[in-house]
Structures are given as structure tokens and as C-alpha cells.
């Protein structure tokens, strides 16, 4: 499986996505640093977390990576069906389920790792520039195990939820539909109407995770007996 994941990264040029993640992280860092003063005065931001800074970091990074996961799923999996390279993949002496699982894992591992790295980087920069900008960065506690646990679990959950977009793209046979579905998921999970938001709503996230697991299952279910288009 590890070899298959490595090959997925190789043929899809993972370096390109690393560059995108770096640029995205830099933009988010600059944006949060620039808006730091404003954010602290925005009342609705309190709904996103107890600490204003960690809440804003989570918000922007989550949004970016849910869409990024959707884009990568559209290229790694839906695009393979569209461009018919999946025909080639299914002509190899490897289980079809294993092939699809390796594609899904390649996207998942990359995005979870990149998301954690991005959040860590943005928090570290905010911590460094805190005295200059006068930011209250109390929520950024690198020394606290809970901080890391929250970050890892939160990142894994967000990337996993993005997989709801996968069967949408596969059913509609469209990469664009996958990305649009990812954008909708972003608004559903990260958006707000006034002070009303579903962010940090544990039952809602739990439900989405169950749907995401079902979506991943659907994407590989009966793949062995399905005819290729």
C-alpha cells in the first residue's frame, strides 16, 4: 500500500501541491496578521473558539484545505475516470479496491500533514510577531498536549469530511462537481449567518464524519464488479 501511495504522489507530482500549500499558508499568515486587530473586535469570531487567534487560524486553514482536498480528489480519482487512466490502473495485477484506497489515502495523508504543518507555521509566525502587532495569542500553546491533540484531530476530521465530495464527483462523472461539492462543504462547516455557525458543533461534525465514511465506502463498493465507462 505504501508503494502505491508513493506512486500516486509521484505520478501526480506531489511537489506541485507542496508549492501550492506553501503559497496558501503564506497568504493565510499574511491575511491573519493583517487582520489581527480587526479579528479581535469581531463579535462573531467568538463562536469559532475560545481563543480568537486559534479560531481564525483554524477557520482559514480549514477552508483552504477542505477545498484543496476536493481539488486533489477531483484530480487523483475523478480525473482518472474522466481521462480513462483508471483503465490502465485496473489493468494492473492489483486489487481495484487497493488502487482506489491508495488514491484516497495519498490525498488524505498529504492534506492532513500539510494542514497540521500550515497551522503550526501560521501559529508560530503569529506568536513571533505578537509583540509587534499587539495580538492576544493566548490560545497558541505549543507546550500544551491538548493544543496538538486538537490540531491533529481537527485536521484529520476536516480532511475526512471533504471526502463527502468524492461520490458526488464520481456519480456526476465530473471533476468540477467534486470541487463545487467541496466548496459547499466548506461553507457548511466553516460558514456563519450572523453569530449562528455550525463550527465546533460536535454532533454535526460527527454526522458529517459518518457521511464521509459512507461516501468513501460507496466510492469503492462493488468496484470489482463494476464495468468501466
Amino acid at each position: 500500500m505504501l508503494k502505491l501511495i508513493r506512486l500516486e504522489w509521484k505520478k501526480n507530482r506531489i511537489g506541485k501541491y507542496i508549492c501550492k500549500a506553501v503559497i496558501m499558508t503564506a497568504i493565510i499568515t499574511l491575511m491573519i496578521a493583517a487582520m489581527a486587530g480587526e479579528l479581535e473586535s469581531v463579535e462573531t469570531m467568538t463562536a469559532y473558539g475560545t481563543s480568537m487567534m486559534t479560531a481564525s487560524v483554524n477557520l482559514f486553514v480549514n477552508m483552504a484545505y477542505i477545498i484543496m482536498t476536493g481539488v486533489m480528489l477531483s484530480i487523483f480519482i475523478v480525473g482518472a475516470y474522466e481521462k480513462k487512466t483508471i483503465h490502465l490502473m485496473f489493468s494492473y495485477p492489483i486489487s481495484r479496491k487497493k488502487i482506489l484506497a491508495s488514491k484516497m489515502l495519498a490525498v488524505w495523508i498529504f492534506n492532513v500533514a500539510a494542514m497540521i504543518a500550515s497551522k503550526t507555521f501560521v501559529c508560530a509566525v503569529l506568536l513571533l510577531v505578537r509583540p509587534l502587532l499587539g495580538i492576544d495569542a493566548a490560545g497558541i500553546a505549543f507546550g500544551a498536549p491538548d493544543f496538538w491533540l486538537d490540531m491533529v484531530l481537527g485536521s484529520a476530521a476536516m480532511v475526512s469530511i471533504s471526502y463527502i465530495a468524492l461520490p458526488v464527483g464520481l456519480l456526476m462523472k465530473s471533476s468540477k462537481a467534486t470541487i463545487v461539492a467541496a466548496v459547499v462543504i466548506t461553507f457548511m462547516t466553516q460558514g456563519n449567518i450572523g453569530s449562528a455557525t455550525l463550527v465546533n458543533n460536535v454532533p454535526f461534525y460527527g454526522m458529517l464524519l459518518v457521511i464521509a465514511a459512507w461516501a468513501a465506502f460507496l466510492s469503492v463498493h462493488r468496484v470489482e464488479v463494476r464495468d468501466l465507462p
Binding site: K11, L88, F90, Y92, I94, S95, V225, D227, L228
Partner: protein
């Protein structure tokens, strides 16, 4: 000789329409099998089922003596294929695509990528991105990939698409070489008779999803010669007369209603006399000549 590929009553139905019905194919080890039929006859459908991309509605595919199931992955290691147009990772070079193929196939023979590229005359374009390849070059790269891991069975669906006459000739020579030197069994589908008739050992003809004929080239060469076709009330007795009275050996009972006599030294007059003397009622007799192309067209002619 052992059959490497067989299909038994292979049927594929989509939306209540039979794309192919009860197709029986027998491909012997080490031969080149030409799978002929007009466009839309069902060649690609059969090829897809043979390579396990599509699952039969009914019937079976037997590869290397084993019945193909949805989870028969091991046999795919012994096969190389091109179905419809070969697909590549266009942003990668031809060489990178082949190296990737080796990794997925678990095949590591040093120099095999370069050798395959050279075999198809693509050495100079090895480092070029596939998106810059012409249609003919893509087709040749597809064949280079199909033969890369030295498969025992090569399944090629319209492999000469996009090739110029020189390229077609080069491929025909290559297929014969792969068959002789590497012992590969090759199944080539085509709607162009001349493309396969010079290299195929056996030809299968499909039309409207139904297998019309499976015939060896040896038999076809017999059919290329003139023959006398005879229809008699009692074929068994007629065959006896031909054998015992006229000492003919090169004849055969065809479709249960006719006898075809390929011996050149006998005339319709000789036959009529001998059969009449022995009390065999002749229903029809005549000298016929049929070229392979006519034969193919007759089989695939619209009723």
C-alpha cells in the same frame, strides 16, 4: 496445441441490448489471432471482457486455463493490452510512463524500458512529454508499454489506429517477431482485413455481436483457391464416392449441405459421371472461386 484464451458463450447485455451474444473464441498458445469485424460489431466489448475491464452478463472467459473472475488479478501480470486508445500521464515523458508501468507491474528488468522504446522506434522521443506526442507516436508508445513486461498474451484493440502505412508494416513485422522470438500469443482486433491477414494464424469474424466464423489461415488459403461445390441428396454416399471411386483426398463437407472439392485435377464432368453412376442424386454442382475479402464481406454483409 493448448488454448491460452477461450471464451464460452460470452454475452454482454447493456440496457436490454445484446452488445455481443454467445461468443466463442479459441486462441492457441503462440499464435496470432486476428479478430475481425466491421465498426460496432462488438470487438472492443469482447476485448474489454477478456481484459476484465467489463464483466460478462453471461458466459465465461478462460485465460491460461483459469476462469476469469472479477478478482482474477494474477492473470493480468501475464497480459499486456491496449483497449481503444492508450492512455498516458501526459505531463510525464514516454520513458517515465514506461518506468511507472514497470513499478505497478512489479517488473524490474534493467534496460527493458529502453529496449521497448527502441523496439517501437521511440528512443529519440523517450524524454519528450507525452502531451507533445503525435497520435501515431502515442499508439506506438502504447504498444511499447503493452510489450514492456514481456507478457505471454498481448491483447491489442485496433493497434494500428493513427499509424501511417510504414508504421503499420513495422508493427506487423514486430508482432511476428514477438510471436516467434518471445513466444507471445497475440490477439489483434481490426476492421481492416489486410491489416491482419498477412500475419494472423487464425481469424475470428464477428458481426452484430455474433461470432460468424473462426478459421485458420490454412483453411483460408484453401478457400482462396478455386473449388467445386457440390450439393447432393446423400452427402455421406457422395463423400464415399469421391474418396473411393475418384480417390480424392482434398475435399470437405461444408455446413452440412455441401461438399467442397479442392483437388485441381478433377472436373465437374468427372464428378457428375461418377456420382450419377453410383446413384447419388446431384442437387447442384459448380466451380467457384472466392477471395478472402469476398468471404469476409459475405459474412458481414447486411441482410
Amino acid at each position: 496445441m493448448q488454448n491460452i484464451l477461450e471464451t464460452h458463450q460470452l454475452t454482454k447485455t447493456i440496457n436490454k441490448k445484446d452488445l455481443v451474444k454467445n461468443v466463442d473464441i479459441h486462441v492457441r498458445k503462440g499464435e496470432i489471432y486476428g479478430f475481425l469485424g466491421p465498426n460496432g460489431a462488438g470487438k472492443t466489448t469482447v476485448m474489454k471482457m477478456v481484459t476484465n475491464l467489463w464483466k460478462p452478463t453471461s458466459g465465461t472467459v478462460e485465460l491460461f486455463g483459469e476462469t476469469l473472475t472479477p478478482t482474477s488479478y494474477a492473470v493480468l501480470k501475464r497480459m499486456g493490452s491496449i483497449i481503444e486508445f492508450p492512455q498516458f500521464y501526459d505531463h510525464m515523458s514516454g520513458q517515465e510512463n514506461l518506468q511507472l508501468h514497470c513499478e505497478y507491474m512489479g517488473y524490474c528488468m534493467p534496460g527493458c524500458v529502453e529496449e521497448s522504446l527502441a523496439l517501437l522506434g521511440l528512443s529519440d522521443a523517450a524524454g519528450k512529454k507525452v502531451k507533445e506526442y503525435s497520435l501515431g507516436m502515442r499508439q506506438r508508445l502504447g504498444i511499447a508499454r503493452a510489450v514492456l513486461c514481456r507478457p505471454e498474451l498481448l491483447v491489442l484493440d485496433e493497434p494500428t489506429n493513427g499509424l501511417d502505412p510504414a508504421g503499420m508494416k513495422q508493427l506487423r513485422d514486430l508482432f511476428r517477431r514477438l510471436c516467434v522470438e518471445y513466444g507471445m500469443t497475440i490477439v489483434i482486433s481490426s476492421h481492416i482485413l489486410t491489416e491482419v491477414e498477412s500475419i494472423a494464424d487464425t481469424i475470428g469474424i464477428i458481426h452484430h455481436g455474433i461470432m460468424r466464423e473462426e478459421i485458420s489461415m490454412k483453411e483460408i488459403s484453401e478457400r482462396n483457391t478455386e473449388y467445386i461445390e457440390l450439393a447432393a441428396a446423400d452427402l455421406t454416399r457422395a463423400a464415399y464416392v469421391l474418396n473411393e471411386q475418384l480417390h480424392l483426398r482434398n475435399f470437405k463437407v461444408f455446413d452440412g449441405e455441401h461438399i467442397r472439392i479442392y483437388d485441381g485435377g478433377v472436373t465437374t464432368g468427372d464428378l457428375t459421371r461418377a456420382l450419377t453412376q453410383q446413384g447419388v442424386e446431384i442437387l447442384a454442382i459448380g466451380r467457384k472461386s472466392e477471395r478472402l475479402e469476398d468471404y469476409f464481406l459475405n459474412l458481414t454483409r447486411e441482410e
